[in-house]
């Protein structure tokens, strides 16, 4: 009788701990999923790239590690071209239905310098190179 009671208490505690662990791990998964969600990533990368371009100077090359964004895009888009720059607007697209655009002001005239993007496949982390090329005809 006493043995049965002790076993009952043990099972109660084990069940309580297991349920708590399950609950906490589910919450953790939810939090991590929210933080690395497509909408959050698109917005943060678009704004990050826009700010990066705004503060860049001609002749500079900046590499932006976008590993997590590439992983999401491969799953949802099946394409590597996730960053597009048209005029002075940068668009980050990680799935068919989504996409986030943000403008930057640092757009020099045709005779000054240009922005180009390259995939960095030779590096361990996947990302984009942003080259701010100096135009030879530039007067500055």
């Amino acid at each position: 009788m006493r043995k049965n009671k002790k076993a009952g208490i043990l099972i109660e505690n084990v069940m309580f701990i297991i349920l708590n662990l399950v609950f906490l791990s589910l919450l953790m998964v939810f939090l991590l999923m929210q933080g690395s969600g497509i909408i959050v990533l698109e917005q943060s990368y678009a704004k990050q790239i826009a700010l990066m371009i705004d503060s860049a100077r001609p002749g500079e090359t900046i590499f932006l590690n976008m590993d997590d964004a590439f992983k999401k895009a491969e799953k949802n888009l099946g394409d590597n071209r996730i960053v597009q720059i048209k005029g002075n607007i940068v668009t980050v697209k990680l799935s068919e239905k989504s996409g986030y655009s943000y403008s930057f002001f640092n757009t020099p005239p045709n005779s000054y310098y240009a922005v180009s993007i390259q995939d960095a496949e030779h590096l361990t982390s996947k990302g984009y190179f942003f080259n701010f090329l100096k135009n030879e005809k530039s007067s500055n």
Binding site: G8, F23, S44, K47, L51, S103, P109
Partner: protein
């Protein structure tokens, strides 16, 4: 076993679980549904870009103050500094400019004539670009105007080619409220 299970996997247990989960879910949802506000950084970067364009290594651009030290009012701030205030065609932004930049020039000390000018009163001229209404938004305080625009102010000294000492005050404002504030 059955007794223990019914004790813990009870209605009350699930109520507590749902309450805690609901609270965390709503907190996370509220946190991530707010966009990242980068306007203050944009305004600062814009001011520094204009500062670099106006004066390099302490000497003012010859296109703003010519060799004889005269202020050139027709200096195009956007064109000369490589700045574009065009924005994405969303939220009706194409009808209302989202940026404003102003550079004011004050005479401080003329090395050539050894004549000192008063600080604020010695305004020589100013260069403007963008939506000037954003300037007023930054001067208005109160809860209602808190999210209208983010502004940045920068003051520094530089010298013209002719040796004139100039105080330069740069003011920048970025609106883009819809994409940065909820």
């Amino acid at each position: 076993m059955k007794k223990a299970a019914t004790k813990f996997v009870s209605v009350y247990w699930f109520v507590i679980l749902f309450l805690v989960a609901g609270g965390i879910y709503s907190m996370v949802y509220i946190f991530y549904s707010h966009p990242f506000d980068v306007r203050a950084l944009e305004a600062k970067t814009l001011a520094y870009k204009i500062a670099d364009c106006i004066s390099w290594k302490g000497e003012i651009n010859l296109k703003i103050f010519n060799k004889s030290g005269d202020f050139q009012r027709d200096f195009d701030l956007l064109k000369e500094c490589g700045i574009n205030f065009n924005v994405e065609d969303e939220y009706g932004w194409d009808k209302q400019e989202q940026y404003f930049a102003n550079a004011s020039f004050y005479g401080v000390f003329d090395i050539a004539t050894n004549h000192e000018l008063s600080d604020k009163n010695g305004k020589i001229g100013e260069l403007k670009a963008g939506n000037s209404r954003l300037f007023d938004d930054c001067q208005t305080y109160g809860e209602k105007y808190k999210y209208v625009a983010k502004c940045f102010n920068k003051r520094f000294y530089a010298v013209t080619k002719s040796g004139r000492q100039i105080l330069i005050e740069i003011f920048t404002a970025v609106r883009k409220t819809e994409k940065n504030v909820k």
